[in-house]
Symmetry: C2
Subunit: 215 residues, 2 copies
């Protein structure tokens, strides 16, 4: 069990009763709704509380400051993305690196495009808070999943698996991020879904000790 570092961003108290859980859920939902509907500058604690149907004071019992609100919403989102990638990686074990590349990229893109508006809003707001530890945790989970998967590739072996995984991870998540920053319009997303697997597969082939077609 990892010792959870206190960042001061967690909810002040964990919800223990059904009513509290409902309140936290309502507040998180309200945060995304306000964010998508009114934009980051109009995301105020008062507006979120109002939308969630609770008083500011009550909200501050669960979220000690605005940052913790954004942190919680982002955490939920990124947890979902990481889980999706983990699931995909498990199913892609023992396949070719080309299959793996397109499988992982598509799983990641699927998770990010379930709700394009929400993803966009969360990307925009992610700079307002210190999420380096959260990003660290999520990218570790994704890296671990990809690494385990790659180790079972049927047509390749890698000398420096962790570097390969690192590069794959930052290129994939980065490319997606930049496309969202530029508006995440349909054609861009389509191009990404088409080309990113090609790029990842090409990289994997380039850095692998190709097992099957060794000269």
């Amino acid at each position: 069990m990892t010792t959870a570092r206190r960042t001061g961003l967690e909810p002040r108290k964990r919800p223990r009763q059904a009513r509290s859980t409902a309140t936290v859920e309502a507040v998180l939902e309200a945060t995304i709704q306000v964010l998508v509907a009114e934009g980051a500058p109009r995301l105020t604690t008062t507006r979120v509380a109002e939308r969630a149907g609770v008083s500011v004071g009550t909200m501050y019992q669960y979220f000690p400051h605005k940052q913790s609100l954004l942190y919680a919403v982002l955490e939920r989102h990124l947890d979902g993305v990481a889980s999706a990638v983990e699931r995909a990686c498990r199913q892609l074990q023992a396949s070719s690196i080309a299959t793996m590349a397109s499988g992982v990229v598509n799983a990641y893109l699927d998770a990010k495009t379930v709700d394009v508006e929400a993803s966009r809003a969360l990307y925009m707001v992610s700079g307002e808070i210190d999420i380096s530890d959260l990003l660290g945790r999520i990218s570790k989970r994704i890296a671990a999943a990809i690494e385990e998967m790659l180790a079972t590739a049927t047509d390749a072996e890698f000398d420096d698996l962790s570097t390969v995984t690192f590069t794959l991870g930052v290129a994939m998540s980065g490319a997606v991020r930049v496309v969202f920053d530029r508006g995440a319009k349909k054609p861009m997303l389509r191009a990404l879904r088409e080309e990113l697997p090609t790029m990842c597969a090409a990289y994997l082939i380039a850095v692998s000790n190709n097992v099957l077609s060794r000269k």
Copy 2:
């Protein structure tokens, strides 16, 4: 000539005299200084004005709101990056795609790592304002430069040059962005400088009609 869309983010008046230019320069410099020294949450208009040695009122003559301040600072930074890439692309004309890939990546990374702290601060703050048009302009410049360069590659031809350029651009800028978001520590930057050219070159080879070594 492109018709400049009015975004409301430009300085209220263009500085016409030496004194005004100095003021604008001082304010922009102060913005980065406050941002790096105190962090995004403590970047207040009062603090920037104080640091720049002008009154808030005067500052508001040149920058109609806080957003326009951030916009101007980001614009200057991204202009520098785009210029660096354009310069590199010109020098890389008529070389191999592997040379091009590592040349462009290194030029981009060099521009972003001249001042790592400033780059990091600007990435963090880029979500607070609407910079889709600015990002659009910058990525168009970079795409145009890369496209012209790739067209002169000695060892490859491309069917869909604009898609190839798009993918290269988002993967490169995205990977760098994500690494900065995760702290931009030396080892990460080194890994990026090592692997990103490999990845870009591998992609270029994969999507090219390889001219020299056609089977």
